[in-house]
């Protein structure tokens, strides 16, 4: 499989495998900006659609998780009540964010933790790199974390000569292949077992030479590879699923036990967390620990959840740092219509049900946050012009499954309006065409008499129809007729038919 995204802007010679020839295993490389890389969405999607293997991998995987989720959600009698509570708790968090963050800081500090604040990716990376260097180590183990993906922490640490070892199996696969994650929960969902075996054989260094592509064998190879690193690591870096303001408790939800290894064995733990990951009270965990696993992996509960509050003397890391990350979140918060994107608990249920994601995969979105949630979160975090708000049919499947009831379709529409405003400021050729077409349509459709005349226009197409259908139209109609016929327009519009009928009476 070759790189299917064209030529993303990559930092040459950086990343986890600087010695390996880039791209030989089909990785897309590590981009300069983890929130904006690769080709435009329509172009990247087109390339992905041509990759039959990718479509099969994705189709099978998303269908499997969808049915698992449906089964375990179906057995919860109070699911809707849990969603209502989850949504309200997150709304409450955003409304009281300053006081809750200060409360969290007080409680973490009181329990022996150190709280750091980071305005952007560079500041967060600087803080973490300095903390690691102070521990005089050049290797850290990492728990899968979207926040650290978002800020490109591994690449920043590599620049300082620190190797960050991803320990989640899928993240390890992605890292070894010099690739990017394509799914929030299953970052290597775009890879099949054979590709994974090839990646391990070529890049892991200590993979058994007779490794087959049986998933159990591959998982055991990863276990053996990481075991030594876990037992000797001095510093671990994690994200957080939840942080409880009123107790200072942090929670990480995982499956493999790599999280427990990182959160328990090293002397020092550094947790990087987006400021929206708060919940006000310990009790609120009872809501999210029901919503998250069932929405995410489709399990009644994930195998392991770790919770810790500052430092526990004699048990686990004796030094704990919490880095609170903004990196665009306050921009999202400022938008009343879009701020509920910050409710997201990163379950990825919306990806798995999205008919667009299912066909084009995560890389087409050009962001570490793919799928429906990525389409609303990414443009809001960056504040840049984006084609992601249009990467949806507004079918509503995402809203239906979202455990915290983010109305993604409505936010997509809001963001499209913002794109139109941004496009108005510095329009490209496509913006101009759309603008003219929409203006003309608005004029024609704002008045019954004008519409009645305009509605007769398609009738002219009857001249080019054969056997009741039109097979080919000039651009932009060709975008339609490339894969679909257009039925022959009627001889008489409904408006005209009704008028005739009234006249006959």
């Amino acid at each position: 499989m070759s790189t299917f995204l064209g030529m993303p802007a990559t930092r040459t010679g950086r990343g986890p495998s600087p010695d390996a020839a880039p791209g030989t295993l089909g990785g897309v490389g590590r981009p300069e900006d983890p929130l904006h890389w690769g080709a435009s969405f329509p172009d990247a999607a087109k390339a992905a659609l041509e990759n039959d293997q990718l479509r099969r991998n994705l189709g099978n995987a998303t269908a499997t998780i969808r049915s698992k989720r449906a089964r375990v959600v179906g057995e919860v009698p109070d699911w809707e009540a849990l969603r209502d509570a989850g949504s309200a708790i997150k709304g409450d968090v955003l409304a009281r964010l300053p006081e809750l963050l200060e409360e969290l800081e007080r409680n973490v500090t009181a329990r022996g933790g150190v709280v750091h604040w980071a305005r952007d990716a560079a500041e967060a990376n600087r803080i973490v790199a300095d903390l690691v260097r102070a521990k005089e180590t050049d290797e850290v183990v990492k728990v899968k974390s979207m926040a650290t993906q978002e800020i490109g922490l591994n690449e920043a640490l590599a620049e300082e000569g620190i190797a960050a070892v991803e320990t989640d199996l899928a993240e390890l696969i992605v890292q070894l292949a010099d690739d990017m994650p394509s799914h929030i929960l299953v970052p290597a969902i775009h890879r099949n077992r054979t590709e994974i075996r090839d990646i391990f054989l070529e890049r892991m260094g200590d993979a058994p030479p007779d490794l087959t592509d049986v998933p159990r064998e591959l998982a055991m190879a990863a276990r053996a590879h990481l075991r030594r690193k876990f037992l000797s690591a001095k510093v671990a870096i994690s994200g957080a699923n939840f942080a409880v303001a009123d107790t200072g408790t942090l929670a990480v939800v995982e499956s493999e036990g790599n999280g427990r290894m990182c959160l328990t064995l090293p002397e020092t733990l550094i947790t990087v967390m987006g400021i929206e990951k708060l919940v006000p009270t310990y009790r609120d965990l009872e809501v999210f620990l029901q919503l998250l696993p069932r929405s995410s992996t489709g399990e009644r509960m994930n195998p392991y959840t770790s919770m810790w509050t500052g430092v526990t003397p004699g048990d686990g890391p004796q030094e704990f740092h919490l880095v609170l990350l903004d990196n665009g979140r306050t921009k999202v918060l400022a938008d009343e219509a879009g701020r509920s994107a910050l409710h997201c608990i990163r379950c990825s249920a919306c990806l798995n049900v999205c008919p667009v994601y299912e066909r084009v995969g995560g890389h087409a979105y050009g962001s570490v946050y793919p799928g429906p949630i990525g389409a609303i979160l990414t443009p809001q975090l960056t504040g840049e012009k984006s084609d992601l708000p249009y990467a949806s049919t507004l079918c509503g499947a995402c809203y239906e499954v979202c455990p915290v009831k983010i109305d993604i379709p409505s936010i997509l529409v809001e963001l499209r309006a913002r794109e139109v405003e941004l496009g108005g400021a510095s329009p490209d050729a496509a913006d101009r065409v759309w603008k003219a077409a929409m203006k003309a349509a608005s004029f024609a459709m704002a008045d019954g008499a004008r519409f009645r005349r305009a509605a007769r226009v398609p009738r002219a197409l009857r001249a080019i129809s054969r056997h009741g259908v039109i097979k080919r139209l000039p651009f932009p109609g060709s975008l339609w007729t490339r894969s679909r016929d257009l039925p022959e327009p009627p001889k008489q519009t409904f408006h005209d038919w009704w008028a005739e009928r009234e006249d006959e009476r």
Binding site: P42, T393, L394, G396, A397, V420, F451, R484
Partner: protein, 261 residues
């Protein structure tokens, strides 16, 4: 009942057989149908493409045209489209409020509260599932995304179809999957749209049905375009076009029903 018909712009211009069928059907059931000629479009295309300012005059025209239903001049507004009904119910108020048109936004809410998609009107308002139709054909039903998830019409369309004499309703695989139309999505992301369409067409063909029906001509135009391109012979027909068919005035599946009454 006095029922005002919102024909929808796409059906008015391209698929008049559907609103015609609504008129015939409702009159057959003993109701009076009025067609306010000032109507044009609900504004959904502009809203969903992000052109909210351009949507304002379109939405205002719709609200002004159908305002009499809020004053009791008509009993209800019927729309042969789930997505237009969804836009009327969930978007028009927002568009007008953002434009600072508070009074018109309140009228829009009042109008939308009396506006129904066809299957909602028949089952919930008029209380009928058997409309006396006869349609001896093998039919499969695609629940369009907005009727399913924005409106929550549930199984109302299927209940109506099951009550049609002679009709064999065959289930559609992955029925709830989007067909890939998405309005301007089909142009802005033409390749992805086509990939979704291919899967929907394959599932429709797999049913062995003669007719594919749905409550929205927009989605039907899309799937129908794929069915036609593939030379499948499956005919797209709006739900209303099936429900209007009787032994006395049968509707035959064909490319176009030029005359529905």
């Amino acid at each position: 009942m006095r029922i005002a018909l919102a024909a929808t712009c796409i059906a008015d211009a391209m698929f008049p057989q559907a609103p015609k069928a609504v008129v015939t059907l409702l009159e057959r059931l003993g109701h009076e149908v009025v067609f306010p000629a000032a109507q044009a479009c609900c504004g959904q295309m502009h809203v969903n493409t992000g052109y909210l300012a351009d949507a304002v005059p379109v939405v205002r025209n719709h609200v002004r045209t159908f305002a009499p239903v809020a004053d009791g001049e008509w009993d209800a507004v019927v729309v042969p489209s789930g997505s237009c009904t969804g836009s009327i119910r969930h978007q028009q108020k927002m568009v007008l409020e953002r434009a600072g048109l508070g009074a018109e936004a309140r009228t829009a809410t009042a109008v939308s509260e009396r506006t129904y998609e066809l299957s909602e009107l028949l089952v919930d308002v008029l209380g009928v599932t058997d409309v006396g139709a006869w349609f001896p054909h093998r039919v499969t039903y695609h629940p369009t995304c907005h009727s399913l998830r924005m409106l929550g019409v549930g199984d109302k369309p299927e209940r109506l179809l099951r009550a049609v004499e002679g009709l064999e309703l065959v289930p559609l695989e992955q029925a709830e999957g989007c067909c890939g139309f998405g309005g301007t999505f089909s142009l802005k992301n033409a390749d992805t749209s086509a990939a979704m369409l291919d899967d929907k067409v394959a599932n429709v063909v797999g049913t062995g049905a003669e007719v594919l029906t749905a409550g929205d001509w927009s989605c039907l135009m899309h799937i129908g375009g794929g069915l036609s391109r593939g030379g499948t012979g499956v005919r797209p027909m709006h739900l209303a076009e099936i429900l209007v068919s009787t032994r006395e005035a049968p509707v035959v599946p064909a490319d176009r029903q030029e005359v529905a009454r």
